[in-house]
Symmetry: C3
């Protein structure tokens, strides 16, 4: 092929290279999963403060935040939680908040015992793990 055809071939090859690079760039949207595994309302408040600060700093529309409560941290999401109001507010502000069904089973809790408006995952620790492998940052307040 002549020089022009050669250049054209390279351009095509290069655009194929650039595409995945662009996709990777796009995936650096702010995404953070937060772990709540302590039976400690101070930690629950810290997690909610952290979520709020991330939204304030980056803009709520620009970031995905997921709070996962499991093990000794499950009390954060029980109907009688001392931070129930704040969990509700965070949910309305776009923070996804989920309880671990493994933990709930172990503590004989059903969805009727939990705050309304939250979500559920089969195993909190697996969610924390998979989010990271999908490129999410991890914060343990």
């Amino acid at each position: 092929m002549d020089r022009r055809n050669f250049a054209a071939a390279l351009l095509v090859a290069t655009s194929a290279l650039v595409l995945p690079a662009y996709a990777q760039q796009a995936s650096t949207r702010g995404r953070v999963v937060m772990q709540v595994s302590d039976n400690d309302p101070a930690k629950w408040n810290l997690a909610l403060n952290n979520a709020k600060n991330v939204q304030t700093d980056l803009g709520a529309a620009n970031v995905d935040i997921e709070i996962v409560a499991y093990g000794p941290g499950i009390g954060m999401l029980k109907a009688d939680s001392v931070v129930g109001n704040r969990v509700d507010e965070a949910g309305k502000a776009g923070v996804k908040i989920v309880a671990c069904e493994n933990t709930m089973r172990g503590q004989k809790l059903t969805q009727a015992d939990m705050l309304s408006g939250i979500g559920y995952v089969p195993a909190g620790v697996v969610t924390l793990m998979q989010r990271q492998q999908q490129g999410w940052a991890y914060i343990r307040p």
Copy 2:
């Protein structure tokens, strides 16, 4: 070159592109490193519970789990550990469990003072760091 040759060249270039993409996909196999750095048997049990839940949920054959005990958490792996039996079971179930030799040196511990069947790393914190940079998720129970 003619159209057919051009297509062949692109195919080769494309397969070269696809290969690394496939390798990357393959590397999203479940891999998680867990940190134990508290002198707190409740945390030791939580780490072991977490490992078990990950294996149950994803299938033990589909996930690599490594527990790294260091600093104030080293007691989890001493011969007189209150969770010795569970550490043994986890090891037999395919969880890799390692003690930090830096910490052991600081506490004048030798391998004779530790549970049998565990592994050793020169610096626990470096292992935790490198695993993450190799694509492993990080959990601090």
Copy 3:
């Protein structure tokens, strides 16, 4: 094109492929961000020990370490901190140590209240999050 030109074209395409791979390799330089969010001098010392061990094991020149103090951990970096001397030493050894301005505002602290030689970030939790999304490992001692 003839065989030689075809080979040349592939070589160029391949080098374009290898370049990003090399860049990715280069980005696996040791990089770790450490979170200090407990009001607990034992944790402050543990973070400083961890940083030192990473530098000793990998060579201070081969690794970037950043310690982020925020929330209840901000006391680590106040002028009257019990680990003030060690913070100073770590900074001189090349560890970057930063305080969260969100937390400082909440506690009515100004830079005059803090150790000299430290750095500042607008929101500690956002720094912890962004570093991870840039490929840094995360350690919460």
